[in-house]
């Protein structure tokens, strides 16, 4: 199975978090790498989705759809930080 990246799970993340999250910054609890969710390694195989750190490969997030619910495991994350407004590269 080929790896995707976090851009491909924007819809799933809206289901879980209720808002756009691909631009949110994640920090790996294992190695400390920090980058947008869009840049993380994603394996998508129904009913589960596994998100891994691009640097150390640790599992950061797992999502499983079953029986009308989405189970979410975020134990691999040290933090998630979402901007209050859409990310823009430059001010002004």
């Amino acid at each position: 199975m080929d790896a995707l990246d976090g851009n491909a799970i924007g819809g799933l993340l809206i289901d879980v978090f209720g808002t756009e999250m691909t631009a949110a910054r994640s920090t790996c609890a294992t190695c400390g790498d920090s980058r947008p969710i869009a840049e993380l390694v994603v394996y998508r195989q129904a009913p589960g989705t596994v998100v891994r750190c691009r640097i150390c490969g640790s599992v950061l997030m797992v999502f499983v759809r079953a029986h009308g619910a989405i189970g979410t495991d975020l134990t691999g994350l040290a933090s998630l930080s979402r901007p209050d407004r859409p990310l823009s590269r430059r001010p002004g």
């Binding site: 995707l4 990246d5 976090g6 491909a8 924007g10 819809g11 809206i14 756009e20 691909t22 129904a46």
Partner: protein, 247 residues
């Protein structure tokens, strides 16, 4: 800055297919008329869901091929082993219905206010969201310089070739053909490498913004190459898809 209306929930809806246009032997563009579309940004996605008679569903995320303000369209490459793309590229006809939700994504997007110059790097069908960016640049009257470096296997595999060859308001289009070239081809050949990136990309001093979309290996090579040329990693936005992505 133009923004998509904030909605509490991303809901599935049934869109009508208004046209299916063949781009290459294995690629079609599907124009859609969703009943409730809040508008999208250049580079965003939508999710498509197919449901079988027995209730089995398959979902895929596709880049939106059209610019903000244009009818919603996706461009789909057929993967013979895929669950979704064979149906979309072979069976779907104008007048059919298709379940989708969107728009989705806030990372791999470009707004005129983000500026440039833009360097867009496409591997195969990774050109789709970059075409939306080029169209948005043209429609918005943005004056930022733009270059597209497009790696395709052969010339007939180039998606949007007619449109690309007409240009986008002085955007430069550079092809490299990796598998075979037509007689008399004077363009680049072979996969993207450091030498080609150094030739095609804007100097880092120009503070360029890069968007790279394609298969994972293409994206990794291209992104590392630009960072090697001095691009700050946060100004190199990437989107990878694998063979199972159905994009």
């Amino acid at each position: 800055m133009e923004r998509t209306a904030v909605r509490g929930r991303l809901t599935w809806q049934v869109a009508t297919v208004t046209s299916v246009t063949r781009e290459t032997d294995s690629v079609v563009t599907i124009e859609l008329d969703p009943p409730d579309w809040p508008g999208h940004r250049a580079g965003q996605h939508l999710d498509v869901r197919l449901t079988a008679d027995d209730g089995y569903t398959a979902e895929r995320s596709y880049s939106i091929a059209s610019a903000p303000g244009e009818p919603v369209a996706i461009t789909v490459e057929r993967l013979e082993s895929g669950e979704v793309s064979p149906y979309l590229t072979r069976e779907l006809r104008a007048g059919d219905e298709l379940e989708l939700r969107g728009p989705i994504g806030g990372y791999f997007v470009w707004e005129p206010a983000d500026g440039g110059p833009l360097i867009l790097l496409a591997g195969g069908s990774g050109v789709v969201p970059l075409r939306a960016i080029l169209r948005h640049r043209r429609r918005s009257g943005s004056q930022v310089p733009a270059r597209l470096l497009y790696s395709a296997r052969t010339l007939p595999d180039v998606i949007y070739r007619g449109e690309l060859d007409q240009g986008y308001d002085r955007a430069q289009i550079i092809y490299t053909l990796t598998r075979s070239q037509p007689p008399g081809w004077t363009g680049h050949t072979g996969r993207i490498d450091q030498a080609l990136l150094a030739e095609a990309a804007w100097a880092a001093e120009a503070n360029p913004l890069a968007f790279i979309c394609g298969p994972t290996s293409f994206v990794e090579t291209a992104a590392a190459g630009l960072v090697g040329l001095g691009y700050p990693p946060e100004q190199v936005k990437t989107e990878r898809f694998g063979a199972t992505a159905g994009r």
